[in-house]
């Protein structure tokens, strides 16, 4: 971070954002490719929506987190805000385009004015990779496929120690009702319960009391939300509790159906039914889930570190949080649409958080961000030597036209040392060398790089250069996608 010459501002990206380059980009692009392949495998098609939406579209969808939405300045015209997630824009997309069913994936940036923790992948601008299924289908069928996609995605990225916590909004809301929480307070109590992964019960109970509930209600809630285990175990506990609430009963019934399906997909061991999982967002209506790893939790002495910290960055005292999360939201499209409600269920992978886990285990020195295969050089010197720049350009151009990745040194007269330095930096495997005497005679030298001085390479006729180089590289033909359209 340095000061600019002409003014006093810091030469940096805005708080909570960062530049990406070099090996980091390779890891992130591999991550996108890995997830995209899975999304396509399950019949997904991709869409794109604007980075900002009409402000009213986002209003009333995010509960307490609505305060984190970035607004664009009112410069005359419509009031707009940066998207907070890809889910609300997706529901708006389904409604705007009058769709009745779609499986879509969307990999794009979202924005939250939150306290950043950069090394933990908690950013103000970050990528999400979302897969959602919209459409009216049989109970828990798309839901279980989404859970399967979640596990497949994390398995493919070799995130080995994850667990997917599950809960059901109908069960949770039913418990709150049965414990005596008035309907209008349910979301507030729910968001307090959601903090049980980071805070002890005492602190959460205090928040529930502050939110106007009695001690008796709070203690009753605790008898439920402390339970977790396999889906079938927690269903048994709930049944034994003889909870007398229609909503909860419906949720329990749905979880029984789910238990069957996740066994058909053989992912039951990765799941954990956790009655304290609540998820902050308002729009969920059914099954909810989030994947966590050891890195998700804050350090044991988080509060101590937080008290001491003077840094703007919270990385020291927070964990990476959930690495993927989602749920069912059956009413969101209906909020935008006159005629119909389209049930939806989906999953969102937190790219930056996954990135920070993958980066830690990766040998960055092995990653190659450049794709150059051939470095074109000229060797010569002495009287009348002009450096063969135009000749190097001509030869490089022949390689490019043939789909070969090639570079040359941007100097009119370039000495041998500098050209080899350039070649090494480019990572090229082959050098194509124009010799002062050889080239005017129609000959050119092709040499494998990194094999020392004694390797002199092959001298071949210039007009065989392209095919010779290609056979050495086994270069695939450049994608012809457009020629087939």
């Amino acid at each position: 971070m340095s000061k600019s010459k002409n003014s006093n501002f810091l030469l940096k990206t805005p708080k909570g954002t960062k530049d990406w380059g070099g090996s980091d980009m390779i890891i992130r692009e591999n991550l996108f490719t890995s997830l995209t392949n899975i999304f396509k495998k399950h019949g997904g098609v991709t869409i794109d929506t604007p980075v900002f939406e009409l402000r009213e579209i986002l209003t009333g969808k995010y509960g307490e987190d609505s305060k984190l939405i970035y607004n664009l300045e009112d410069q005359g015209g419509e009031l707009t805000s940066l998207r907070y997630d890809l889910t609300v824009p997706f529901a708006r997309f389904v409604a705007t385009n009058n769709l009745t069913a779609i499986k879509r994936y969307h990999i794009a940036k979202v924005y939250r004015r939150d306290q950043p923790a950069m090394t933990k992948g908690r950013m103000r601008e970050f990528y999400q990779c979302d897969f959602d299924i919209a459409g009216t289908y049989d109970l828990m069928v798309p839901d279980s496929e989404i859970l399967n996609i979640l596990c497949e995605g994390l398995d493919d990225l070799q995130i080995n120690d994850y667990k997917v916590k599950l809960n059901h909004r109908k069960i949770l809301d039913g418990i709150f009702e049965a414990c005596g929480v008035p309907e209008q307070d349910i979301r507030k109590v729910s968001s307090a319960i959601d903090k049980l992964d980071k805070s002890p019960w005492e602190a959460v109970k205090k928040e529930i009391l502050e939110k106007g509930q009695s001690e008796e209600i709070a203690d009753k809630i605790w008898t439920f939300v402390q339970h977790s285990g396999s889906i079938r175990e927690v269903i048994d506990i709930l049944k034994q509790s003889r909870i007398d609430n229609a909503t909860a009963k419906q949720g329990i019934q749905e979880m029984e159906v789910l238990a069957d399906y996740v066994e058909a997909f053989n992912i039951q061991d990765k799941l954990k039914f956790d009655l304290s999982l609540a998820r902050g967002l308002d729009y969920y209506t059914g099954l909810i889930y989030e994947a966590v790893t050891a890195a998700s939790a804050p350090p044991k002495n988080a509060n101590e570190l937080k008290a001491k910290s003077k840094d703007e960055d919270a990385s020291e005292y927070v964990g990476v949080g959930s690495i993927a999360a989602g749920g069912r939201y059956d009413n969101l499209v209906g909020m935008f649409s006159n005629n119909k409600s389209i049930p939806c269920v989906g999953i969102s992978f937190g790219v930056e958080r996954l990135f920070s886990i993958i980066k830690q285990r990766t040998d960055m020195s092995k990653l190659k961000s450049q794709h150059t295969d051939v470095y074109v050089m000229a060797f010569g010197g002495g009287e009348g030597w002009n450096g063969f720049l135009k000749e190097r350009m001509h030869v490089a151009n022949q390689l490019w036209k043939a789909g070969v990745n090639a570079e040359f040194l941007y100097k009119a007269k370039a000495n041998t040392r500098k050209q080899f330095d350039g070649a090494e930096k480019s990572g090229a495997q082959l050098a194509v060398i124009l010799g002062k005497e050889e080239y005017p005679e129609g000959k050119i030298r092709v040499k494998k790089l990194g094999q020392g001085e004694e390797n002199e390479g092959d001298v071949i006729p210039v007009d065989e250069m392209v095919s010779f180089v290609k056979s050495k590289l086994q270069v695939d033909a450049v994608t012809e996608s457009f020629k087939n359209l």
Copy 2:
């Protein structure tokens, strides 16, 4: 566009933005792939920068167009704005990260509060595909490679009728100086001249007079800026004019060097040296260029149409404008950096404008946005028939695990007709069919789709299903990128 149920706002994207889906996404993704391949071929590495920058970074870089910058609301903290292009963020990136040389490409969205013309690809949110070379090199060498990339990019996209207009800021500024324009007025006069592609000389002259120049100055300028032709032709005209200005002479000398290099790349026939090309942006310091096609120009009766138009969208009376543009900017990095100035040159492809040209010539019905290969079905019926949902899930999961793209109908009990409808919609080539009698006996049917009723397919053992299907599909193994990290 429909009204929402719960409030009165229009259910749409903000003005000048749009949703992307279906075949449009395929064309755009092919376009990205095509350009990315070329960028990699020339040694490019990719980077990513935030969608918004500190406001001061963008200030004073865009001349008259600065009014089009989107600001984020001041919600406490830093003042930020959405990026207007990828060039200024790139220069900031080079300075922030203390680079001395990089060839980078960047494909990302930029934002301009301009009058939109949606069907012509003039949007408020749009993609740019940029390639830039930063570093100190010999005169015109990277510049000519950038022009080569520009032509290669458009050729690969089969944009056949384009022309690349060239000019040089030193020549243009030297002409203005020689004609008597005071230094502080040069950029203003320059931006008037830039309108000569859309307006007749009379209108441009009027603007020059309004900007405080005398009639004599304006007329002198006209004797120069009306010339265009091959690089060597226009150099001859300029030399014959005996222009007495050191800056212009330096520019002419540089163009002579360029003439040699573009011949080495064999792109001279696609270039047109046009002394009226000025480009609006402040930061250019040397060679400037923009590619145009027949679709770039507005319709002949544009003014008439404009007068009549009541539409918010300007599509009717504007052309698509330039489809790619760029130039040399040697001082931009220096504006951000204490120690050094890093010379840069680059090109930006206007994706949405290229898209609108490509879409017009494309048979959209041939594009397939879904990638499903296999549809898993169950055939049965009668007493005790449960629809084999869990069995279909189990079989689909085996296919997914083996990297095969598969789907099944999300119904517990699905009739044959609905399953075939689902298969057809998915575009799958193969059906894997679980028969009520066959499957419990360990047998499964694989059938090529779209070949009529008489084709019964092959009945094979269940445990040979995956390899049989893969040999039918010749599916490539799923990318193993992450396993090699």
